[in-house]
């Protein structure tokens, strides 16, 4: 048991470190370090532009999408090299937020199901950040129950005509392409009538409306489709096999190992270290310590859990299922952490302005953003189901809609 | 909004208080007030004997089973009078534990489904504590799923022959009679083939075996039935209608408003008030205060929730569903409190000997007993289902066994 790199790993790390030192946009480092959940923005610069520039620079030098094959814009690196890169990239990694869906979900799906010509054409600009991709799965009627989606695609000659609505699409407003899951046969059971496509987000008939979130920000969108035409050549996988294609996408989402989930602990610990209460520094208060300790061991538990997965990668093994706990633990934790940081501020905790609030309002922003974390990318309840079923081997939920034709599934809970 | 009695209530309270002051077994007061979960017994006397004597005395004074009609041994009192009595009876109420199932579940079921003759014969002795009743519902294969029970009753002339096993029967070893639910038809869906009886626990073929619990105590029993004969006259309700009869029983169990529910809070508050740690009194420590405050508001929340139900009763209204939260809140809370009390004692918290101070030993017993609070009389999970379904109106669980003949329901998971 050790934390040392192998000689190859050490060489890779040294190279990455040197390149980052020479090329990273240092002027933003402080600001990026201080950013936290619900608050990742730069003063005096558009974070999207800064991010695109950094991604392009990385791509030019061969540091983008490290684990992808070279011919598609990657480096052909090993999984562990990718992790080392992430460690070295540090705070600059926060700039990749807008590419995560493209790199983590759309790219791998294209790689698995698109034709060779499409891969050569679309993947390199995706890797270099010149083109941004989004993922169009969730719908008003299909959240946790993704396969409950209702957006129709109907065959018309060599094209498909799409009508319907998607929701919770991150970055749709700045995306160039999207992967889109549609219903092509409503007369069969819900998992059996789906088909996957990719499309140009500038296609006529695509309309994007930002969603104003509970925290006031707008990171997500509704996307409306009205008679949108998609050539059959942009179909991914067989007709009506979309559910299996989407599993590839989602599997890749959940495999993102080493991606540090935000727990709020470092922020709270720093805050308590500097905060003075009536009777002395907050960090000397026993109650504060007791709470901090419980969160500290969760944060460190997550950190070392991900190191165990990295170790498995490093040995060329498939990581175990442990990593599935990350978002579940971090989601409710960050909510609790933020609420406690406000509690420590007393009545003033309600003030959210950067000038008035302690720690420039960071915890207020965190509190308001945190509920989203427990919902997006799989709710806490879905995550617990996944752990119970795939890790512990417990039976799946009873599915009353399993063998029912999609158009016979009830759409309203009562009357 | 006020906490005052109406004039009638005040008069009742004065009368009850005076009678209790004159008649209660004062010699046990101190011991009873110190008893807590997992630790209810008297040093020198058998608590069941003392309980029986107190119940008999109450019955003779007209204070037993207050809300029952007079002809069945009660007082015909109003629900609010029953609550006032409980408030005044205070710690002596802990002596009524052996009679609670009889009074709260068996009695009301006999009252609803027994013949007039049976009611006059059995209920007064039940009320006076001379005869103790138990309830024989749970089985190894039917815990939360009561209707999954397998004990068979088969008709033979004017009698029924019972074979099978019950479990978790409180007080079966000192009970005279029992309320027994059986399966009389295994070929129909599970809720439809049940029939209810009452029986003499001294009947031939009834065998009572105590269960040793996780905390080392023995409060419950297994009861085995081998060719036990029950006359058809002791059937309660129609053949095949036992499930509906049992709902009366269980409804009454859950209606027990104002019943004292142990939360452990008074004990932990007292303990923290007196405990000295190396940095001073535990109660001065902020971490301790934060925990105590969290529990204090749960305890007071439960107390005032039950006051709200009492108020509804006082106005002659039916109490709302709020009271169903009690056991769910108290069970987990007891477990957490016991654990924290031990934490405060450091390594010595693991010691349980009689030589250790009473104040500390009680939390170890509480810790070991608390898991049963989260299970007995409805698990936490069942209680959450009840709140979600009956209070919030959410749909029930999907019942895969609903229309399946009982003998076709799977009995093994893998």
């Amino acid at each position: 048991m050790n934390f040392d790199d192998t000689p190859q790993e050490a060489a890779f790390r040294a190279e990455a470190k040197a390149w980052i030192a020479a090329n990273a946009p240092k002027q933003y480092e402080d600001e990026l370090k201080k950013s936290s959940l619900g608050r990742t923005a730069l003063k005096g610069a558009n974070i999207l532009e800064v991010a695109k520039a950094w991604q392009k620079k990385k791509a030019d030098a061969g540091w983008a999408c490290l684990h992808w094959p070279r011919e598609y814009g990657g480096r052909g690196a090993t999984p562990i090299e990718r992790v080392i890169w992430q460690q070295e990239e540090g705070a600059f990694g926060k700039l990749s937020g807008m590419f995560i869906i493209g790199h983590g979900m759309c790219g791998p799906t294209m790689m698995a199901f698109a034709g060779e010509a499409e891969k050569k054409r679309y993947l390199p600009p995706l890797a270099s950040g010149e083109k941004v991709w989004c993922q169009l799965f969730s719908e008003p009627a299909g959240g946790s129950d993704v396969a409950g989606l209702r957006t129709r695609a109907e065959k018309n000659g060599d094209d498909w005509i799409v009508n319907g609505q998607k929701i919770w699409t991150s970055g749709a407003h700045y995306s160039d392409y999207g992967i889109l899951l549609t219903r092509t046969d409503p007369n069969v059971a819900k998992h059996r009538g789906l088909t996957m496509f990719f499309l140009d987000m500038k296609s006529p008939g695509v309309e994007i409306k930002p969603i104003k979130q509970a925290n006031g920000a707008s990171d997500f969108n509704e996307v409306y489709f009205t008679d949108v035409k998609i050539p059959d050549s942009q179909r991914l996988g067989a007709v009506n096999d979309g559910w299996n294609v989407s599993l590839t996408t989602l599997m890749n989402e959940r495999m993102s190992i080493g991606a540090g989930v935000s727990t709020g602990f470092p922020e709270l610990f720093e805050f308590c270290n500097s905060l003075m209460l009536d009777d002395g520094p907050a960090i000397e208060d026993r109650n504060v310590r007791s709470k901090l300790a419980s969160w500290a061991v969760k944060a460190s538990g997550l950190k070392y859990t991900s190191m165990r997965a990295i170790s498995a990668l490093s040995k060329g093994e498939r990581p175990g299922p442990e990593n599935s706990i990350g978002k579940l633990v971090a989601g409710s934790m960050i909510q609790d952490v933020a609420a406690y940081a406000l509690d420590l501020q007393g009545a003033a905790g309600v003030l959210a302005g950067a000038e008035d609030a302690e720690a420039t309002g960071k915890f207020q922003a965190m509190l308001l953003r945190a509920p989203g974390t427990r919902v997006e990318g799989g709710t806490d309840e879905i995550m617990r189901n996944i752990i119970a079923e795939r890790v512990l081997g417990l039976p799946g939920d009873i599915r009353v809609d399993k063998d029912v034709p999609f158009n016979k599934i009830p759409t309203k809970g009562r009357g | 909004m006020n906490f005052d009695d109406t004039p009638q209530e005040a008069a009742f309270r004065t009368e009850a208080r005076a009678w209790i002051a004159a008649n209660a077994p004062k010699q046990y007061e101190a011991e009873l007030s110190k008893s807590s979960l997992g630790r209810i017994s008297l040093a020198k006397d058998d608590i069941v004997d003392v309980g029986k004597a107190w119940q008999k005395q109450k019955a003779e004074g007209g204070w037993a089973c207050l809300h029952w009609p007079k002809e069945y041994g009660g007082r015909g009192a109003t629900p609010i009078e029953k609550v006032i009595w409980q408030q005044e009876e205070g710690v002596y109420g802990k002596l009524t534990q052996p009679f609670q199932i009889g009074e709260g579940m068996c009695g009301p079921t006999v009252m609803a489904f027994g013949s007039e003759e049976h009611k006059r014969h059995y209920l007064p002795k039940l009320a006076s504590g001379e005869q103790i009743w138990c309830q024989l519902f749970s089985e190894p294969a039917g815990g939360s799923d009561v209707a999954g029970l397998r004990t068979r009753a088969e008709k033979q002339g004017d009698n029924w022959i019972v074979n099978g096993q019950k479990i978790w029967t409180s007080g079966a070893h000192y009970s005279d009679y029992g309320l027994l639910i059986t399966r009389t038809d295994p070929n129909v869906p599970k809720h439809k083939g049940l029939t209810m009886f009452f029986l003499d626990m001294k009947s031939k073929g009834v065998e009572v075996r105590p269960i040793k619990q996780a905390n080392g105590m023995q409060e419950f029993n297994e009861v085995y039935f081998t060719d036990v004969v029950i006359p058809d006259s002791q059937r309660l309700g129609n053949v095949g209608d036992g499930w509906n009869v049992s709902l009366t029983t269980l409804m009454n169990e859950r209606m027990s408003i104002g019943a004292r529910l142990a939360t452990g809070f008074p004990e932990i508050f007292e303990f923290c008030s007196s405990l000295m740690t190396e940095d001073g009194p535990a109660i001065d420590d902020r971490a301790t205060r934060s925990k105590l405050a969290g529990w204090a508001v749960k305890a007071s929340g439960l107390k005032y929730t039950s006051y709200r139900a009492v108020s509804a009763l006082s106005k002659g209204e039916r109490p709302g569903p709020e009271n169903s939260i009690g056991k769910l809140v108290a069970g987990v809370m007891l477990q957490d409190i016991a654990s924290y009390a031990m934490d405060l004692q450091g390594a010595a918290g693991a010691l349980t000997g009689a030589a250790e101070e009473l104040a500390t030993g009680q939390f170890q017993q509480m810790l070991l007993s608390a898991p049963s609070m989260r299970i007995a009389g409805g698990t936490d999970e069942i209680l959450r289902n009840i709140i979600a379904e009956r209070v919030l109106g959410l749909p029930g669980d999907i019942r895969v066994d609903k229309d399946v003949p009982f003998n076709k329901i799977p009995t093994k998971g893998r």
Partner: protein, 375 residues
């Protein structure tokens, strides 16, 4: 990076698990729990023969000379099996104290005896209620003679020797405390067995009356050595706790798969499966914290104090959580003496207290993180 046990270590784990499955089934734990024996002597002998008692003791002192990672592996298995033997007191506390501070002669006298199973050792630290603190140590030590009472002492009634904390000064500083090594069979000590939450592991009161004792480590260094011993023991005990937590989780999972209610396995109800998923989460967090503790322990890293506290807290929480909810998943049967659930519940709550309670370690963790942060 290789943040995992090696194949050899995993093989040792399998070997230990197999050995304990055979020699330490629940029946063996019950024999001690029910008071038929003070500990499982046969098992103790077997553990010595397998080389598990001396796994971290150097070969020159009769041990296997493997190391602390190997000891962590064994500790986890001991916790899984609820082994009713004085392993933690002898190996994590007494042996570690001697390894850290013992003279050559002391090592030579006691370590081989520990490795061979001939000597049971313990640490006599607590004096009634309270957590570890120099102020809590009143036992008078002067002129090589001890006077005072220690309680609870784990396995104190069956131990052959004890490491004892004693007061050698009254300046109010840590330097007032020194450690002593006492041969409990040489007279001057009276042992009285105490009843505890977990009767499968013994607790005792030791009364010292003009008891002869030899110093362990330098005078006035007692508190400093003790702190290190407790940190090392915290990591090892955390592995025991994680072993117990994992087993309790497995028991709950198995029961949820087998038990039918309402016509379905109870594990198909979300209320039950989510409870089990949450148990898995705490057990996983604890295991990962323990691995870090193991690394820090085995390399004597400067991170050990922080890593030990984190492992201890996380494992205490996980074992308590899993043991408690294992009973809940089992329903009424989980509350019977006959089912094994309560043995894990008892052990979980007893091990949560043995080296100082959760509150104590929480306070210690933040104190240590703060100091590191300031440095």
């Amino acid at each position: 990076m290789n943040f995992d046990f090696s194949d050899e270590q995993k093989q040792m784990r399998d070997e230990a698990r197999k050995f304990l499955a055979e020699k330490c089934p629940p029946k063996a734990v019950r024999a001690v729990l029910d008071g038929h024996a003070s500990y499982d002597k046969e098992l103790w002998k077997g553990l010595a023969e397998m080389g598990f008692l001396g796994v971290a003791i150097p070969e020159e002192f009769g041990g296997a000379g493997a190391g602390h990672l190997e000891l962590c592996v064994i500790a986890e298995e001991m916790g899984r099996a609820l082994a009713p033997v004085p392993f933690s007191s002898t190996v994590y506390l007494a042996a570690e104290a001697i390894l850290l501070a013992g003279s050559a002669a002391q090592k030579k006298k006691w370590l081989p005896a520990i490795a061979s199973g001939e000597a049971i050792g313990t640490l006599a630290l607590f004096e009634g209620k309270g957590n570890p603190s120099p102020d809590g140590i009143k036992l008078a030590a002067s002129g090589g003679s001890l006077n005072g009472v220690k309680k609870p002492v784990p396995d104190g009634a069956i131990a052959d020797f004890a490491v004892v904390t004693g007061r050698t000064g009254s300046t109010g500083r840590d330097g007032d405390i020194s450690l002593f090594l006492v041969d409990l069979k040489a007279g001057g000590v009276e042992a009285k067995a105490l009843t505890s939450l977990d009767p499968s592991r013994g607790q005792a009161e030791l009364t010292f009356r003009n008891c002869k004792a030899e110093p362990l480590g330098a005078a006035g260094e007692g508190w400093s050595i003790l702190t290190q011993v407790l940190d090392r023991a915290a990591v090892l005990m955390a592995f025991e706790q994680v072993g117990g937590a994992d087993r309790a989780l497995e028991m709950g999972r198995d029961y949820a798969l087998d038990r039918i209610a309402f016509g379905r396995p109870i594990g198909s109800f979300q209320a039950v499966k989510h409870m089990l998923a949450d148990m898995y989460v705490s057990a996983t967090l604890a295991r990962s914290n323990c691995y870090y503790g193991a690394w820090a322990l085995s390399t004597n890293a400067s991170e050990l104090p922080e890593a030990a506290a984190a492992a201890r807290i996380s494992a205490t929480q996980a074992f308590q959580h899993c043991a408690k909810n294992n009973i809940q998943v089992h329903g009424g049967m989980g509350f019977t003496w006959e089912f094994d659930c309560h043995m894990y519940y008892r052990r979980a709550n007893a091990t949560a207290l043995g080296l100082g309670s959760l509150s104590y370690w929480e306070d210690a963790l933040i104190d240590r993180m703060r100091k590191k942060n300031a440095a």
